[in-house]
Symmetry: C2
């Protein structure tokens, strides 16, 4: 009997002795980080609301109870009973029975009503039918990404169960080493922005945090080939942890599966879906530009299949000596500050990922409240001594003023924007301003992946700012469903119509004017003197966006756009900053200042050379902590 | 045709075009870092003294010329001719012909006379007989280690040639990467003394520097299992470089071959022989103490077979982007400061190994004169703020006083000493003092490996201090051959005789009284009140030596010695410091101070926590350079 089996046996004995005698325990299995208890008496189990909680706290594990397949009622019977328990207002749109595990997946417009207060309705369902309910939200706006991911995972359910069991046994393996140390190796995004990738390493465990590419520098990828990364074999990684879905953090995650990795990817549920959306688009763009993508869509599917979604605040065992907890990072949907607790009180490391410290319209500000953090790995995008951003309130005023002026002249406002994050923030600004009559209510056309990304946002309102979440639950208050928003899904024809029409606002990708439908919009309305192009996001050097900002008015239209030759740009060009998804210098300092306790060491990463040096030096002088501005390919040892 | 072959072909064309038309070039091969040119006209080749030198400088390679086997004269004829060329005073003791490579190994008591002024006699030999002569010294004192190593290498000659050719092709492979960086990973001996091991790593190349154990802490071995060491496979190492033969630097070198390593070990010739002696003894001690050694003698033989001996000052290509040069370190026989030149002027790193900065009786002081060194990895054994040693002159006076007093009383002086280094230093002190009449000429008995180690010293007088080297060349002045030195080779019986006799001096291993014949000497004379035990070397905490120093006079005699139970120690106990093989604090500071140019960065290693911190801080404050006191398992990136 292996050590893992012996441990499972011990756990089973504990469970048997803890539950009342008349409740049978037929099997206990690992499923990823969770423990699944199979019972022939699921209804009895469910009738004691505290039982699972007691077991979980006794065993210090997340526990799911499932019915032994032998005792399952017929799905057709169960369906009726379930529907009679759930209030009609919940808006159940689908029930999906899985006899192999005794689970029933309930898709509903209002999942909260299926769950009930403290899970009371869920327990009632089990008490009635024995099946274990799992609830997902029906996207308020239809999202092909969400439905593709869900269908794919349904189809791969059986293989996924095998994967999760294997991962579970791996997580709960016996510790092998008496040594105690913690190391971080920097594989990318040090003294640069892009290609985020770090190795967190103990004598037991090796975890990769993020695996991104470097925008504008194809081929500059993280140093995965060095032995401390995957050089010793991709299978030597225990886990991959993804802080958020932006490509400079996620683009090369699927590549790991080409290299033979077959372990878990821990991320939030929205990060999983957005990663699917963005990496598939990444492949699409690469092939449109005639580059050979480093992997194909089958590896994206592998990545999604290996995702283990975690919610903010879940403390999760991901290795014998490592606990992982995600916290809201305020940057984009599902973005997480990632906290690792090493050993039994040995050491704590947090990776900020990308953060926004203050609340925005979309998200609450980043969480910096951890029981302990000895070392913080902190993003420094705006860490430079002069990197202060305009207050968003002032920025919004400027944007509204531009819109008022342009529309009064009968012009159109063209806003290049990233599909994920900034677009939704701007949508919220526009919706409110129109509702309050501060700007005229004109059509707002959303082009590129913006609509799809917005749909994903509405699928996961738990990840949005409290008041926004509450509004989304009410169809008539969901700001993203406001009438003036129009999803451009009619291609060139629809764009031509819009161009020929009256004043309007167009939000279109790509955010740095490096391809995508924005090129077509430039073709259509770029020559209109009364219209205004308005930049609301960071334009990296060398991009067309940055050139237009700096005054270029002759635009070479290559085959990325739809035109040929050169386009004369007559539009007004405006820039409104202050809508960044990143904390500015003050936000980064505040993030550290308000930590309690503060970390002993801070590694400043994810910023250009001067930003990381400036931030590192400021943190050192202000808080008297040890700070570093690492280079790529260094290894730091803690403990 | 592979890139390596293409390059060899180019080289051959260059050689053909450089040598006169009437000299044929039949083949060109790599043999380790050297280039071997085979010719049918070896005599013509040899007649032009400058030809090889010109080729070497043109190709920037070390070049050896050998006769095409087709044109070799018969060994019996050649032998006669060779003997007629070499002056009789050279004392040739053996000629060994190798028809496969056209080499003749000449063993002589005075190799210099076989070589002649600027190699003139060697060239004369080739001009006469065509064979390529190689000269080795007949040990002035018979050494079983030297003769075993030489016989073994002779026997493995053919396999060794294959190994060298493989290594040669590896060294001269094409560079693969456009990246440029240099990293050092610390695998041991950081904030501690012992288990020296470092990885020097570029995008092309991975080199292990030293691989020692930690005395007094069995099982605390270098972190070879981490991926940046051998975790990615021992075959991922390009080369192993050994600074000197002490076990805390060499003990685990043979283990690498158990792990599958089959590349070169670069070291000096005496280091190779001493490593053989010391690692075999290491296995012997382990098995006597009932421990299971981590490898066996077959791996020691593999290690010796893979040694590529280099002389001080030889600049050697060991990888496409790495040149290695050894310099005298002044610590023990063959010890080397190790200089790496990375890329074509990209970066320079020196590892001090263990050093003695000032001249001693045995060795010239450590060399610190390099064209360039950006980073120095510096030993810090005596780097603490109070680690100043007594001047050796004063120490010698004290030792002589102790000897005078003890022998006057009719007692014996028992000196525990390390076989390699300190014993020979003390022998030189005693020989001179007796010759000059400063102490009475009494027998000096040498027990344990001391005699063998001394024999190895006399085999390589080039590695000794200038004046000592000159004296060794004259039998009647060789201080190690002085009449009073007696090698204890008669076991317990001889020791009993000595113990029963009159005043004498006994030098015996082990140096820290942790086993070996010293235990037997304690048994024989430990109870004599008129005799004196005199410590001349460092006694690590926890060793019996350190306990006796601190006043213990009841000695538990376990089966390491020959006695049983407890021994009452009545001898006087004295300690004379100042004979260390390590630079003291002042020496270490001077080593850095007199470097020109000084390095930008210094990593202080090989010292306990406070020593490395003190030295690091002192170097920073005095020379305003970046200094570090690394932990094990950190990676530093330069460039």
């Amino acid at each position: 009997m292996s050590a893992v089996e012996r441990k499972l046996d011990d756990i089973k004995s504990t469970i048997v002795s803890e539950v009342p005698n008349d409740i049978s325990v037929s099997d206990v299995k690992y499923e990823g980080p969770e423990l699944v208890v199979y019972t022939k008496d699921p209804k009895r189990f469910a009738s004691d609301g505290d039982l699972v909680r007691q077991l979980a706290s006794k065993l210090r594990k997340r526990i799911t109870v499932r019915p032994d397949p032998e005792v399952l009622s017929r799905p057709s019977d169960a369906r009726e009973q379930i529907m009679s328990v759930i209030p009609e207002e919940a808006g159940v749109t689908d029930l999906d029975f899985h006899p192999d595990t005794g689970e029933v997946v309930i898709e509903a417009e209002k999942p909260g009503m299926v769950i009930g207060r403290h899970g009371s309705t869920l327990r009632e369902i089990t008490q009635e039918v024995g099946w274990t309910p799992e609830v997902v939200r029906t996207p308020p706006i239809e999202s092909s990404t969400v439905s593709n991911v869900r269908n794919f995972l349904k189809q791969e359910r059986e293989e996924r169960r095998d994967i999760l069991e294997r991962i579970g046994r791996q997580i709960h393996r016996e510790e092998m080493s008496d040594d105690e140390w913690v190391r971080i190796t920097t594989l990318g995004c040090c003294r640069e922005v892009g290609r985020a990738a770090f190795i967190l390493n103990t004598p037991e465990t090796r975890v990769l945090i993020d695996c991104g590419d470097k925008p504008g520098a194809e081929g500059e990828v993280p140093y995965l080939q060095v032995p401390e990364a995957l050089g010793a074999g991709a299978s030597n990684l225990d886990a991959v942890v993804l802080t958020h879905a932006h490509l400079d953090h996620s683009a090369l995650i699927p590549l790991l599966f080409k290299y033979g990795y077959d372990g878990p990817i821990y991320c939030t549920e929205p990060t999983r879906d957005l990663m699917g959306l963005l990496t598939l688009d990444y492949l699409d763009v690469a092939s449109k530009e005639g580059r050979t993508p480093p992997y194909d869509s089958s590896q994206v599917r592998e990545a999604i299949k290996h995702c283990i979604p975690l919610e903010y605040g879940d403390v999760t065992d991901i290795a014998p000596d490592l606990k992982l907890t995600f916290h809201n990072a305020g940057h984009i949907l599902g973005s997480a500050v990632t906290h690792f607790h090493v050993g039994d009180g040995l050491y704590n490391v947090a990776f900020s990922g990308d953060i926004h410290y203050d609340d925005t319209r979309l998200f609450n500000g980043a969480v910096n409240d951890f029981p302990r953090v000895e070392t913080l790995v902190l993003e420094s995008t705006y860490g430079g001594r002069n990197d202060y951003q305009t207050d968003q309130e002032d920025s919004e005023e400027t944007l509204k003023e531009i819109i008022r002026e342009t529309t009064t002249e009968g012009g159109k406002v063209l806003i290049p924007a990233f599909a994920v994050g900034r677009s939704q923030e701007i949508m919220l600004v526009l919706e409110e301003a129109m509702r309050e009559g501060e700007i005229p209510t004109v059509p707002v056309h959303l082009d590129g992946m913006i609509w799809e990304a917005t749909a994903i946002h509405t699928t996961y309102p738990e990840y949005l700012r409290d008041d926004l979440r509450d509004r989304i639950f009410h169809d008539d208050e969901n700001p993203f469903l406001a009438d003036q928003f129009n999803h451009i899904d009619g291609g060139e024809e629809e764009r031509q119509e819009v161009a020929d029409g009256g004043p309007c606002i167009v939000l279109s990708t790509s955010g740095m004017v490096e391809g995508g439908p924005i090129m077509s919009w430039l073709n259509h309305i770029g020559s209109e003197e009364k219209s205004t192009m308005t930049f609301v996001g960071y334009q990296a050097q060398g991009t067309l966006g940055s050139r237009i900002q700096s005054g270029w008015d002759e635009i070479p239209m290559n085959d990325r756009g739809n035109g040929r030759g050169t386009l004369k740009l007559n539009m007004n060009v405006e820039t409104v900053d202050g809508f960044s998804g990143h904390a500015d210098r003050q936000g980064l300092m505040n993030f550290v200042r308000t930590m309690n306790p503060r970390p002993e060491k801070v590694l400043c990463v994810h910023g250009d050379e001067s930003s990381v040096q400036d931030l590192s030096s400021a943190l050192y002088h202000e808080f008297n902590m040890r700070t570093f501005a690492p280079k790529n390919l260094e290894t730091f040892r803690f403990k």
